[in-house]
């Protein structure tokens, strides 16, 4: 299904978050994938209306979601509703569930998965060039998000996908020995929210009706030696 995957990567936080999306989600979705300098308002504006699902990782606040170098992508009251109408939206960002999420739903988004406080995790700065390899720290928080997105892309409902994310946090927190990492996992779990229609799932596109019938190729006749 057409997906807009916006992955800013200009600092350690965005690089770590986008690294996981790049490694685990990007290979299975159709373009448009906006990475790095492409995560700006105009490319988003052009690609979003044609997508079924919008996935974004970037810095955010209560009313704003940003892309590369904190270029504003979505801000309450400053976007065209057709960019979000009928779409499932996941924002891996801080606090966008407070004002921006409800505004997106009000403007027609089917559902929004976001967070009502900061999204916080511990990552290993030594692995900045291969952030997806950071299983010890960053993976504890970011892999549940990946599991949620994979569930969404597999056709699970938004509610089921959120439950998968929350269960992932619980599982990781239970076995985590580092108190700071554990506190971050529990903090993110308590701030994850779902707005809009929890029963929504990504539409399966009908197969194309061809104006002719496909004929199987004739059997191969091997010459007798």
């Amino acid at each position: 299904m057409p997906t807009v995957l916006a992955m800013s990567d200009f600092d350690l936080a965005t690089r770590s978050a986008s690294g996981f999306l790049l490694r685990y989600i990007a290979p299975r979705v159709e373009p448009v994938q906006l990475l790095g300098m492409l995560v700006r308002r105009l490319p988003f504006q052009l690609s979003a209306p044609q997508s079924d699902i919008i996935i974004g990782a970037g810095h955010g606040s209560e009313d704003t979601f940003t892309g590369q170098n904190e270029a504003v992508i979505l801000e309450v009251g400053k976007y065209d509703p057709k960019e979000v109408r009928g779409k499932m939206i996941k924002l891996l960002s801080c606090q966008t569930g407070v004002e921006l999420g409800p505004d997106l739903v009000k403007n027609g988004a089917t559902c929004v998965l976001a967070y009502v406080d900061d999204y916080v995790w511990v990552c290993d700065a030594d692995l900045a060039s291969t952030p997806w390899a950071d299983k010890k720290f960053a993976g504890k928080c970011l892999m549940p998000v990946i599991d949620e997105l994979n569930a969404l892309l597999d056709g699970k409902s938004a509610r089921e996908a959120l439950d998968i994310e929350l269960e992932g946090y619980s599982r990781n927190a239970e076995v985590e020995e580092d108190e700071l990492v554990k506190a971050c996992i529990e903090f993110n779990r308590s701030n994850a929210i779902l707005l809009g229609d929890g029963g929504a799932s990504i539409r399966a596109r009908p197969s194309l009706a061809l104006p002719f019938r496909l004929i199987p190729p004739p059997p191969l006749l091997m010459p007798v030696a």
């Binding site: 936080a13 606040s61 891996l92 916080v120 030594d126 700071l180």
Partner: protein, 84 residues
């Protein structure tokens, strides 16, 4: 496994963001970290957030958390919300 210093840190973070409370939290974090480092299992961990237009940095190396706790009330409040 929580050590005693972690419990002291939690108590310090429950206080209002006064310079004394912030210094106390910073001290408690340093002691907690000393215990964690003694376990010898860390590389270069950094706490990161996806906040926009915040008064605290988006990335703070874990060993610099005490410095940030001592000088930045907003960061003190954020860590207080995380560590309950």
């Amino acid at each position: 496994m929580a050590n005693a210093e972690w419990e002291k840190l939690k108590e310090a973070l429950k206080k209002p963001a006064t310079p004394e409370a912030m210094a106390e939290a910073a001290q408690a974090f340093k002691k907690y970290q000393a215990v964690e480092l003694a376990k010898g299992k860390r590389s270069r961990p950094t706490i990161v957030t996806l906040g926009y237009k915040k008064t605290y940095p988006n990335a703070v190396p874990v060993d610099k958390i005490p410095d940030e706790l001592a000088k930045n009330p907003e960061f003190f409040k954020l860590i207080g919300r995380i560590i309950k």
